[in-house]
Amino acid sequence: MSSLISSIFANRGQPGGRVMPFVMILLVATVLASCLNLFTPEGSALHVSTYTITLLGKYLCYAMLALAVDVIWGYCGILSLGHGAFFALGGYAMGMYLMRQIGDRGVYGNPILPDFMVFLDWQELPWFWLGMDQFWFAMIMVILVPGILAYVFGFLAFRSRVTGVYLSIMTQALTYALMLAFFRNEMGFGGNNGLTDFKDILGFDLQSDTTRIVLFLITAALLSVALVTSHWIMNSRMGKVILAVRDSESRARFIGYKTETYKVWLFVYSAVIAAVAGALYVPQVGIINPGEFSPINSIEVVIWVAVGGRGTLIGAVVGALLVNYAKTRFTAILPEGWLFMLGALFVLVTLYLPKGLMGLYGQLKDKFSGPSGPSSANDRKTSDTAEGASA
């Protein structure tokens, strides 16, 4: 009898929160928006413009990136300030495919070389561009390249027990080095201009509304998949190990878990989510350039997660959507003010909202409905020790 109770309640206070209703809402909302774009006339009050769709598509990609950061920061205490690198690498792999799809429709009409190579007088395609004209190959690269980079970096870093702030700075250096490298024209990725002027994907015109809608829906679907998968991982015993690593890595080691292996694989998982987000981002915004590697972008992602509430999957998504929506709105009204706001957001969230909006929701709920369980009463304390351990 008691064992039955244990098994039912074993999942109480689950680390992922309730994710299924959220995924449902997300999917319904995206499908609704798509229908309103496709099937209502342009002047109608219900019409959702293509502009809005591309904007929402971009937000969803960002949300996915935020989710990737949350998975390792919120759950495993690894603060990566370089996740933009994986995002951008995924984007570049997709960009290379799209570039090759242009074929002889480039301005110089060269069937093999992208315009920027003709421009710089290159004679043949560099080896790393070979095969990128095949969609399946490019998609494998989207996952493989960032995945391997994450594996190598993670393997080296976690094995030698680089943790906390050191690791954050190293990830920042990683993305900075990649940015410098991709800015070089000799690298063969188009230098500062990056890759742009895409025509079509799998034969579908990138500029048609239908293609946009499909990309938008795919983004929402993949975000949902990422949410559900992450939820599943975090609720499995592996999720518990990950939390254990965050809170007391040495204890986890002394009960027999090879924690660096867990960290490496989680890091790779997270990098792959970021890369997929990047790959979806590129066809929707139409350009990828080394600016995506810039360290400030990666740090901004962290603040989305912090605003939404780290350690909750939904929080990361909500944070990314809210902050980016606010950014779109405020930069339109007061361009100079946005950086002040962003700066203040960083300070205020860390000082007063250590668990983000999701935490605030919990705090408010407690306030109004009385202490409902031990979990929320101890939020503050656990977050403190969590930090202490990751330092």
Binding site: G13, S236, K240, L243, A244, D247, S250, I255, K258, P374
Partner: protein, 286 residues
């Protein structure tokens, strides 16, 4: 000329050795769980251990043998090297020189913390460390003796026997009521118990227990003593403790460490009669 021939033949020899059909290459040999060889009745061999930090000798030619099934108490002043010794045994710190064997066949110095833990050596820290953001139940589930690779852990489901085992341990450590409480909300003494419970979950061969009764009430201390005594025999237990009353109540054999090496070993009475010990350790109390 000769030299070259010699070298060539040597190389050929090496090559044929490398490609021997009846052997797999060493790096391809799967990791086989090794059985601890305790045919000599000794579970832990610590020999000639030296370790210094910036000139300070934390361990100084330390030798220690623990018999299988024994309950051993380690005592010594601060800086005597007790915790450092535990660090070395559990793989946290590498000594400058010396050997540590688990049974007569497993060299512990070759292994990392998690491998040592999987061999069946459990450790309780001085300051109780449990996973505070997770429930008591989860804490115990994590400590289950199971395959701790990434994929098996990801796919792991609790079997009825495992749940039973957790219930059992919950009973032993007296935390059935608190099973769904977050570990961070437990009292200090309860955390100590939980940590011991986590060690028990792993079904260890050797338990290293660092100051188990610090901060406990007399009743709790008594229960802890009972618990540790009940463990000995089936398992081997090493206890580091300052509380002399407690040591007296549980110890059969006591080892005194001083400045990184063993000063004396014997029953509590023998120790208390030992001149050296009185001078350097108990002398301070008196």
């Amino acid at each position: 000329m000769n030299m070259i021939e010699e070298r060539v033949s040597k190389a050929r020899e090496q090559a044929s050795e490398f490609f021997r059909p009846d052997q797999v290459w060493p790096f391809l040999v799967p990791d086989q769980p090794q059985q601890v060889d305790v045919s000599k009745q000794v579970l832990l061999y610590v020999e000639g251990l030296n370790l210094s930090f910036d000139g300070f000798k934390a361990l100084n030619d330390l030798n220690l043998y623990i018999n299988d099934g024994e309950l051993r108490c380690l005592i010594g002043a601060n800086g005597a090297g007790k915790t450092t010794l535990m660090d070395v045994i559990t793989g946290k710190t590498q000594p400058d020189s010396g050997t540590v064997y688990f049974g007569s066949n497993i060299n512990l110095l070759d292994r990392s913390e998690d491998e040592i833990a999987q061999l069946g050596i459990g450790r309780k820290f001085q300051k109780p460390t449990v996973f505070e953001a997770q429930t008591v139940f989860d804490n115990l589930e994590l400590s289950l003796k199971s395959n701790k690779g990434v994929i098996p852990t990801l796919l792991a489901r609790l079997s009825p026997t495992e749940i039973q085992r957790i219930d059992e341990v919950l009973n032993i450590i007296g935390l059935q009521e608190q099973r769904f409480m977050l570990a961070g909300a437990l009292s200090h003494g309860q955390k100590q118990w939980l940590e011991i419970g986590m060690l028990l979950m792993a079904d260890p061969r050797l338990l290293l227990v660092d100051e188990p009764v610090a901060g406990m009430t007399p009743q709790e201390t008594e229960r802890t003593a009972e618990l540790l005594q009940s463990l000995a025999g089936e398992r081997t237990v090493i206890v580091v403790e300052h509380d002399m009353e407690f040591v007296r109540s549980i110890a059969r054999t006591v080892t005194v460490l001083h400045q990184g090496s063993v000063l004396a070993e014997g029953t509590m009475d023998q120790i208390q009669a030992n001149k050296d010990v009185i001078e350097v350790y108990l002398g301070e109390d008196a």
